[in-house]
Symmetry: D2
Subunit: 309 residues, 4 copies
C-alpha cells in the first residue's frame, strides 16, 4: 500500500471554484491548478475541507476529479478526499476517485455516528483493502469530533494500511509522537503532513514531511519558499516566511459575526483568488453566507499588505 | 409546506436489516415493517440514525425507500431522512426520497462543517423550497454537534419552512420552549416529536405530539400502549409502561468496552429483532463491531424479562 | 449517614445579597430568608451556584452560614454547599458548615482537575466519613465538566455515603435511572431532587422528591404551588404552574451579549428581588457584569406579566 | 505592573511533597527546591497545577509559600499561583502570596462559573490593581474550560495589567499570535512562557521566552540544557534534548485505566522524585488514586532509560 518514499513538500487542498449558480467552474479550476503548479507545489489535494468537499454533491465531486486529474496529467501526485460518514459511503467515493486516477486517498475517521478506536481501525483497514492506492488518514477533530491517537496511527502504518497522516488537529505533541514513533519503527515511507498552516516551520523542524495549507491556494509561492528554506536548514528564513503567511492568514476573519467561521474563511480564500484574478467568481456553496463588499475589501487589504495584488 | 394537522403518535425509525454480506435484506425489511404496523404505529421514519443511515451508501438508501414505500402503500405516512453534511448534498437525497413517495423529509443542521444559525436558516429554507413535501428538523446534537435553538425552530415554523421538529437533544426545557412557543404563535399544525425514548411520558405531558423511538423497533406495541395511555390522560399507566420500556432499553449496553456505544445499541436492536424472528440476520454495517454470542445472550435476557421472546 | 425519610419539597438555593461594596448584606439576606419561608418552602440551600458560591470568599461564606442558620433557627432544614475543587479543600468548608449547624452538605465531584469515577467515589466517601451530617451529591456538568453516572450514585447511596442527589444535569433519562434504581434497591430514604427548574412537573411525575429552583428566590409561592399540585396528583395544575414559571424564567436573558449567561441570570434574579423590595441592592459579585437600567427594566416587565410587582 | 525585562528561561511548577498522612512535607519540599536550583532553573512557580494546587487547602498553600520563599531567599524569582474560581476568592490567595514575598502572581480566568471575555478582563484588571506585583495569565483550557484569546491577552498586556502569559493551551498558532502581537506592539517586557513541555523547542523558535515544565521537576537539567541550546541557536541540539524529554514524559501514563490521567501523571512525577531520592514519599493528595508497585516500577524503567537513577 505504502509508497516507496514518503510524500513530501507543499500539497495544497485545492479550492473548488463555483459559478454564480453553484456549478463547478471548471475553467477557473484549471486556472487555479496552473496557479498552484506555477507556485512550485509538490502535489495537490482535491476534495478536502478547504475544497468545500462537505458541500459538493457526488456529481460535483466527480467533475472536480476529472477536471483536475485530466489537467494535471501526472505532473504531480493528486490526492483525493473520500469524505463521508462511514466505511460503506467512503468506499463509493474511493471507487470514483481511483477510477479518475487519484494517486492516493485521504479519509477521516467515521463521523456523525459515535465511534471507537476499534471501529476506526476496521474503517481504515477496509478502505485500504479496497482502494488499491495509498491511503492517508485525515485527523480533523474540529469536523470529525474525535482525535486519531498516535498509537493507532502508528499501528496502522506498521500494518501497511496507512501510507501517511494529514494532521490538522493542531496537537503538535501528538504530531511529535507520530514522528518519533515512525523513526523508532523505521517506517520511512510513512508520510507525515501537517494541516496546521500557521506552524509549518515547527512541524518541519520536528520532522514532518510536508504541509497541506488552505492558505496555499492564495499564496502557493510563500509556502513553497517556506518549505524550501526549512529543507535547506535555514530556520530563520522559514520562520520569517511563516510569520508573513501568519499575518496574511488574518483574512480568514474578514466575515463578520453574522456568519460562521467556515463561511468567513472559505469566502475569504475565494475572494482572494478572485481579487488575484485566478478564479472568475468568489461564490461559496450553500448554505454558507457570502462575504459582502466591505468584507471583500478587507481581504483586499490583506493581499495588498502582502503585495499579492 | 405544513400539513393541515400535526403529525402525531408513534413513528419508529425503521432499522435497516442487512444480509451477512452487507446488502439490504429487503425480505427482512418488509417483515420489520409488518411487525411495526402490527404494533399499531402511526407512521414510519426510514433512513434515520437508528436505520444506520450514516452507514448506507446511496444505493442502499434507495433500496430502503423503494422497499418500504412500496410495501406500506400509503397505510401510514412514511418520513424519510435526508441525512448529509450540507444543503447541496441533502438536496440530492431529498429528490430521491420525494420521487420514491416519502410523505415528508427529515433533515439535520449542517455537520462536519462549522455552522451558524444564519446558515442553518438558509439550509432549511433552501430544502423546504425544493422539497415539495413537509420538512421536519432533526435536532441531534450528539451527531451534529450543534443544537437547534427553540427561537430559530419557531421562526422557521412560522415561516412555513418547517412542518415539525424531531427533538433528540435530550433537552426537555428546550422541548417545552418549542411547545409553548407553538401555542403562543398558534402554529397548531407544527408537529413536535421527541426522540428521547426514555422520557416519552414527560414529553407527551408537556404537549409533544408523538415519539420516534429506536427501541420501538423491538417493542412497538409498548410504545403504542404508552402513547394511548397518555392520550387518554392515564398518566400512571403511561409512566408504568415507560418504566417497563426503560428497563428493556438496558439491552443497548450489551456490547462491551471493545466497541463504541453506537455499535452496542444498534447491534442490540438488531439482535433483539433477530431473536424475535423478525429479521434474518443481526448484521450491522461496517465499521461497527458485531456483538458476540455472550453479548447477544444478554440481549436475550432483556427480552425474556420483558416477555418478548 | 442517611436521614430516616427522604428530604423533599421545594428547597431553593438562597441568593446572597451584596452591598454595593461587595460585602454580604445580612439584613437583606434575612429578609430573603423570610420571603422564602413565607412562600412555604420546605428547606433552604445556602452556598449553591445560585448563591454565587463560586464568588464568595471563605469569610463571606461563613457570614452567610451564620446569618441564615441563626435566623432560621431550625424551622426548616438548611443544606450548605461545600463547593471547591477537591476533597481536602471541600473538607475545610464542610467543617465550617457543620459547626454552623447545617443539616446537610451538598458537594460536587472534583473539578478543575481531571477526574475519574474511582476518584469521585473516594471523594464522596471521604467527605461523608468526616461530615457527620447527610451528604448530597450535586450533579452540575455545566460547572463541573463531568457527569455523575447513575450507577455510581446508586452504589454510594447503597453504601450510606450519599443521602441524596441534587441533579442539575438536565438529563431526565439519567434522573429516571436513579429513581428506578432507588426503588429497586429499596433506598427509600435516599432523596432525589431536581435542579432543572423548568421541568419540575416531569421530574416529580417520574418520582423525584423535590426541587432546588434558582427562580424560587423570585417566586417561591409558585414553586410551592407546583409541588403541592403534583403531590396531590393534579398534574394539569402542576403543568400550568410550571408553564407560568417557565415564562417568568425568560428574565434570565435580560442581560445582553456583552456579558456571560451567568452574569445575566444571577443579575436578573437579584434585580427581580430588588424590584420586589426583598433585597436592598441588585449587586452581583465581581467579575460579573451588572445589568444596566434597560436590562433591569426588562426584568421588571417579566415581573409585571407575572403579577409579581 | 510589568517587570522591566521579560521573565524568561526554565521555571518549573514545583511539586508539593506530602507526608503519608497528607501534610506538606517541608523537608522534602526544600530538597526539591535545591534539586531544581541545582539544575540551573531560572525561577520557580509554586501552587500551579503540577503542584496539586487544586488539592491544597489554604493552610497547606501558606506552608508551601513560606517554605519555598524562605528557602530560596531571592536566589531566583518565585511566582505563586492564586488558583480559585473567581476574583474575590483569587484576591484572598493573592494577599497571602504577596505577603509571603512572591515575585509575581499566576491566575487563570474564572472557572466553575460560566464566563465571558468582558468578565475575564474585569477579573484580571481587578487582580492586577490589588496585587502590587506582576500578574501572569495562566491559559489552561483543560482545567478552566475556556481559552484566553490572543487579542484579549495583548490588550491587557498593553494596558499593563498582565506582565506575561503562561500558555498551557497547546494551541501553538495562538502562541504565535501572542508572540507576533507583542512584537508589533513593542511590549518587550511582556513575558510569554509555554507550559507545553513536549514542544518547547517549537515555542522557543517562535519567540517564546521560557517554559514552565511539569516534567522539569523530574529532570530540571534536561530542560535547562534544552533552553540553553535554543538560546544559543543550536536547534538541532534543542530538538534532540526535547525528543529525549518527550520519551521520558511517557512515564505519565504509568497509572492504569482504574485512575484518571491526573492521578497517573502527578503520581508518576512524585514516584520519580521519590525514586531519585529527592522526596521522602510519593504520596498524592486525595481523592487521587495512588500508583501501585507495578506502576511505580514502570516509572523506574523510564528513569533508568533516561539514566536518571
Amino acid at each position: 500500500m505504502a509508497t516507496a518514499t514518503a510524500l513530501s513538500g507543499v500539497i495544497p487542498p485545492v479550492c473548488t471554484p463555483l459559478t454564480p449558480d453553484y456549478e463547478v467552474d471548471t475553467a477557473s479550476l484549471t486556472r487555479l491548478v496552473d496557479h498552484l503548479l506555477d507556485g512550485g507545489v509538490d502535489g495537490l489535494f482535491v476534495l478536502g475541507s478547504s475544497s468545500e468537499v462537505a458541500f459538493l454533491p457526488d456529481g460535483h465531486r466527480k467533475v472536480v476529479l476529472d477536471t483536475v486529474l485530466g489537467h494535471v496529467g501526472g505532473q504531480v501526485p493528486v490526492l483525493a478526499g473520500a469524505i463521508d460518514m462511514t466505511t460503506p459511503r467512503v468506499l463509493d467515493h474511493v471507487r470514483v476517485a481511483v477510477e479518475a486516477g487519484a494517486a492516493g486517498i485521504v479519509a477521516t475517521a467515521p463521523f456523525y455516528t459515535r465511534t471507537h478506536p476499534a471501529e476506526i481501525a476496521v474503517h481504515f483497514r477496509t478502505i485500504a483493502d479496497r482502494a488499491g492506492v495509498p491511503l492517508y488518514a485525515y485527523d480533523l477533530p474540529v469536523a470529525v469530533h474525535s482525535k486519531l491517537g498516535a498509537g493507532l496511527v502508528l499501528e496502522l502504518a506498521a500494518e501497511g494500511v496507512l501510507a501517511g497522516l494529514k494532521d490538522s488537529s493542531g496537537d503538535d505533541a501528538g504530531l511529535r509522537e507520530v514522528v518519533l514513533g515512525r523513526r523508532d519503527r523505521a517506517l520511512s515511507s510513512f508520510s507525515v503532513l501537517t494541516g496546521s498552516e500557521l506552524t509549518v516551520d515547527s512541524a518541519l523542524a520536528m520532522g514532518a514531511d510536508g504541509v497541506v495549507p488552505g492558505l496555499g491556494n492564495v499564496d502557493p509561492h510563500g509556502y513553497v519558499r517556506l518549505f524550501r528554506a526549512a529543507s535547506a536548514g535555514d530556520w530563520a528564513a522559514a520562520r520569517a516566511e511563516q510569520e508573513r503567511l501568519f499575518r496574511l492568514f488574518g483574512l480568514v476573519n474578514a466575515g463578520g459575526p453574522h456568519m460562521g467561521r467556515g463561511s468567513s474563511a472559505l469566502g475569504a480564500f475565494k475572494a482572494a483568488l478572485h481579487l488575484r484574478r485566478v478564479i472568475d467568481h468568489p461564490t461559496t456553496a450553500l448554505p454558507q453566507i457570502p462575504l459582502d463588499a466591505d468584507e471583500i475589501a478587507v481581504v483586499g487589504k490583506y493581499l495588498a499588505e502582502a503585495a499579492l495584488v
